[in-house]
Symmetry: C2
Subunit: 207 residues, 2 copies
């Protein structure tokens, strides 16, 4: 296979990328000045060498420089930020969900990245989740509230049930309050385009 | 800026990629085994070092191995394929359009990649196109037919007019027949969803 098709095949494995987009990426790189391509390669190197997962929430982050003899931190900037409310935990499926919530600047607690959501309770599916890590986190801390912020999809719902019972099993008394994100009409959305389940949730959650 | 955000910013410049997709790419790379990341970097290196543009149609291609003392070819596999009809030229906007047409396996002529389409006749826009290269190609060959296969968009239409007159100016007699791709209802499409212009074209082109 020539290098064009080899790279197209690699890009096809990127999330959301189909064969057409993959070849557009390759044509884009072909036209890109050498300096920009070098920068891309350097940034990928840096990403793989410098970034690690926070031992507490599993968010990827870049530890502080160790040049000054300080040991690299094991905790991400959110987990090591003393101004945040450490009694509040928000469980999300993936890194980008954490980012979306952070961007609202309205959540001052801590996070836990579960690593996905599962449609079935089969062992091989469930083992993909950081369920044991979540249990340990809950066991070792006394949260007053745990927000389950998984997607309102069938997988998200099934996984919510799973982790809710896992939390109840492991949490030390007093048991943390377990809450879920509100479901309803998205802001700017219109009733006539909302599906029945969303409308039902919007009605139930009215206040 | 940390390496996560640096790489997100680089990916945001890729075609069709927004901030959300860019961060998904970065999280994907973070999870990818080191070996696969090395393969990606190697493939990008190979692409930039091995691929060159065909001097005739400007399609990127990988010249044959020069290990056996043969000079690397200046022509892509399509342009150097003697079984193709060299009297037939098809002008497309970009590389992926060439690929789409090749995938039909119904076109046996040669191509010319114009490098885009322009909305205005401003000099700085027009200079982005390979207009001089197209003129030279037309001057040095005697095509019996030139198919203008630009997109049926406003830019494509404006550019078609431009290159049609450029071809007429430069082509040696006998003048090549200039044709355009048919416009109409896409196969599998439905009349009720077609816009007026498409329907008009479909009516005009009926046979």
């Amino acid at each position: 296979m020539d290098s064009i098709n080899k790279l197209i095949n690699i890009f096809r494995n990127f999330p959301t990328v189909g064969p057409r987009t993959a070849s557009r990426f390759v044509y884009y790189l072909l036209k890109l000045p050498k300096q920009d391509v070098d920068e891309l390669i350097f940034a990928i190197h840096e990403l793989k060498n410098k970034v690690k997962l926070c031992v507490s929430c599993f968010n990827p982050f870049e530890p502080f420089d160790t040049a000054q003899g300080r040991p690299a931190g094991e905790l991400c900037p959110i987990c090591s930020d003393n101004s945040r409310n450490k009694n509040l935990l928000c469980v999300v499926e993936k890194e980008s969900d954490l980012l979306s919530l952070e961007n609202t600047k309205k959540f001052i607690g801590l996070y836990f990245i579960l690593g996905g959501a599962v449609a079935t309770m089969r062992k091989e599916d469930v083992s993909q989740l950081r369920l044991e890590e979540l249990k340990n986190r809950v066991k070792e801390n006394s949260f007053s509230e745990i927000i389950i912020a998984l997607n309102p999809t069938p997988e998200g719902k099934a996984t919510s049930v799973l982790i809710e019972s896992a939390i109840k099993e492991t949490a030390k008394p007093p048991a943390p309050k377990i809450t879920h994100l509100a479901k309803g009409i998205p802001v700017g959305g219109e009733l006539e385009y909302a599906d029945e389940e969303t409308l039902e949730s919007a009605l139930e959650g009215r206040k």
